[in-house]
């Protein structure tokens, strides 16, 4: 069964450094998302992406964040200057184009630790 993959599984970085989290969505999916989950808290929406542009973003997704689909298969989330409060699990998700369903396929996540 096809699945969403994410790399790395765990990233440790120092405050102020840039990080890039990578995702490979399911190949025929058209909609892509990033969510995050701070330890012990809710899963929070960050951004959605369709047709090579951002469709919607939350208040969390400020100027420090950016997304890119550089080569038609990868989908990346960049944090330009990490803060301690960016420490969280980051999940990538994708969904097919036409299905009238709330089914999104999530990856295993990248645990980001900012020190």
């Amino acid at each position: 069964e096809p699945e969403v993959t994410q790399t790395p599984s765990h990233q440790v970085t120092q405050m102020g450094q840039e990080v890039i989290l990578r995702c490979v969505p399911i190949s025929n999916h058209l909609y892509f998302y990033w969510y995050r989950q701070i330890l012990g808290q809710k899963v929070e929406f960050l951004v959605s992406f369709y047709n090579n542009e951002i469709s919607e973003k939350s208040e969390i997704f400020d100027d420090q964040f950016s997304v890119e689909r550089p080569d038609g298969s990868n989908f990346t989330l960049k944090i330009r200057s990490t803060k301690l409060e960016d420490s969280a699990m980051y999940f990538c998700a994708s969904r097919p184009g036409q299905a009238a369903t709330y089914e999104q396929y999530f990856g295993p996540g990248t645990r980001l630790t900012v020190t």
Binding site: E44, F45, S55, P108, G109
Partner: protein, 112 residues
């Protein structure tokens, strides 16, 4: 998305049927009810979606009464591996880019 209310946690013994109820009093006509499951340190996983009456798949059943103001996720004969957080979401599924809005969910602990 409509506001949902679920119990914070539930405990069950292995082999029992577990029913998790979600309240969504302000559900709109076009809203569907969707349940996700999240194991520790993993991404959420879609379980089931329904609009009315009953939906069943290989994992669970979803019961929705006629007024649709609540719904019940039923897990038959749970095992230790069903220990997870279960989320109820209500909204209009479409082919657009609607993000999912997760609440705190129900933490199910299955005990041997």
């Amino acid at each position: 998305l409509a506001k949902t209310t679920q119990p914070i946690s539930m405990d069950s013994y292995e082999g029992q049927e577990v029913n998790i109820t979600c309240s969504h009093n302000n559900i709109a006509t076009n809203d569907y009810i969707t349940w996700y499951q999240q194991f520790p340190s993993q991404g959420p996983r879609f379980i089931i979606q329904g609009y009315k009456t009953k939906v069943t798949n290989e994992v669970a059943s979803l019961f929705i009464p006629a007024d649709r103001k609540s719904s019940t996720l039923s897990l038959p004969r749970v095992s230790l591996s069903d220990t997870a957080v279960y989320y109820c979401l209500v909204g209009v599924p479409n082919s657009g880019n609607t993000p999912l809005v997760f609440g705190k969910g129900t933490r199910l602990s299955v005990i041997a």
